[in-house]
Symmetry: C2
Subunit: 351 residues, 2 copies
Amino acid sequence: MKLKKFIDKKTAWLATTDSSASIVISSRVRLARNLDKIPFPSRANEAQQTESFSRISGAVRGVNHLKGAEILNLSDYDGVDRQFLMERHLISHEHAGGGGVRGLVIGDRELISIMINEEDHIRIQGMQAGIQLKQVWDMIREIDDMLGKNLPYAFSYDIGYLTACPTNTGTGLRASILVHLPVLVMTEEIDEVLRALGKIGIVARGLYGEGTRVMGDLFQISNQTTLGHSEETIIENLESVCRRIVNREIKSRKNLFSENKTGLIDTVYRAFGTLENARRITFQETMELISKIKLGIYLGLKIDARVGVLNELMIVTQPAHIQESMGEILPAPERDIARADLIRKRITGSA
Amino acid sequence: MKLKKFIDKKTAWLATTDSSASIVISSRVRLARNLDKIPFPSRANEAQQTESFSRISGAVRGVNHLKGAEILNLSDYDGVDRQFLMERHLISHEHAGGGGVRGLVIGDRELISIMINEEDHIRIQGMQAGIQLKQVWDMIREIDDMLGKNLPYAFSYDIGYLTACPTNTGTGLRASILVHLPVLVMTEEIDEVLRALGKIGIVARGLYGEGTRVMGDLFQISNQTTLGHSEETIIENLESVCRRIVNREIKSRKNLFSENKTGLIDTVYRAFGTLENARRITFQETMELISKIKLGIYLGLKIDARVGVLNELMIVTQPAHIQESMGEILPAPERDIARADLIRKRITGSA
């Protein structure tokens, strides 16, 4: 366990404290790239994995955007550290759990990260707070161009960039937007929204991406396929879909607030009372309560907690963050106590 | 609705703020008496009911303990007022709901009350905070003696005082102790305790006596029959049984606190957070939360609420109290909002 130093670094993609933007948490773009003439990581032997790791991390040094980036060899880090990195959305669940030679590049303020030898040799990820896919894409494209000058990418003029999984082939791009939809969940309208998304090739995933559960009413909305569309089309399409979802959430918030104002206010304040007073609490419940409190702040209720603190809590109350912070491996019941302590201290501002 | 003036009067039997006595709320003794040669109230016609009301209220004026007592003719009071009187434990559920000519005498600080034309012509009730059955019995006996000098009681030298229901015949005495048993409820030991009581002719009733539900883990422990025992025996027996129940609750509190300290503390603080923050709340939930908070205070937890305030809340948050306080008949959802407002104001000390 050696990542404690990261805990109080701000995750800049979560920096929004502007309540009007509080429905959209962040925008994320990732590109999948592979080196020519080296097997995909799952089929590469250790020497080949080491070669790709070495060549990619060497190339990273030449990228302007990544001056001062940290390059981690994941084999130096234990399970808690890897989970910690996943909790900060720097690596995927698969990357955290996988074997072999794997790496991670962490850029300035955690807005850029590059996974080395995940499913593909290279996964470049860019993030920003709010709806900013185009800006993120511009940044990612520059990094991709610079890396591509020094690394021979696996590329076919017929179908585009080659990737380990055919769903990524073509542009290798996945764009996603993290949105907070508590009222669509409360009213169960979310089911209809998700069905409609499926029909147009858009999926909603949980907090940590593919195969993870939704917590705190946070949904990662992303394109499902990349083949046959330009990067710009994918991004414009996703932004437009997300704006519609956000508008629906806004409309439902207004409706619910006018139809059941007392019920909603009661729910919000009870959530705050529980978060502020609990002496043991799971991460799941923490996220549910924060979701309701943030909704209350959006609705203009006077609540003694700042959005910035609540956003930080969504990161630092995760299981590996609690353990890094305490400096020891803790079983779940003890984490629940440490988490409740941490929450009270942060909310009352004494830590 | 005209009993608002009573709301801020202290119910002296609930005055205990000494945490060592917090398991026993109060002691109550009631005597059933009937006038000779007038049918029991349920069989009396209006003229006969009026006669008993008039003779009894006249006799009350001559009793030292009842100088300055208020005498109410219940037909002057609407349903909310009668429920209000029941909520203050001054009259029974039956007396509140029944027809005919009925009266109520309210003595100093509500420690004595006399129901006129309930099931019997006269029901004298005395209450005190804590375990004080003997003191209450001494007071009740004096009142009974003085009333008996001016009123011819229905009495048989073979079986004692005659009453409408045979379970009261003999002494006409029922003694009860109101106890707070949250941990016996949590651990479900209460089921065993109640079964054991049944075998020795002792019953546990709900908050408002016979046929009412238990709320806030408050049990009225009382003798089931009165025939064949002296008043002193009944009272000594009940006090001794209650002391044993209280000791068991104390022991269970210690055990639970040592076995699951974190869980118990978490439960207590969450209850406080909810009570302090809810924007609508039922009386049932209010009682459940207060029960847990009082347990926390007993266990020495630092909680920002005084036992005295919590005890008052148990009275003033009842449905009819809320309505008397607001000066209007309110449907349950609006009472729930008014109740939550009242609780927040009292807890923060701004009202």
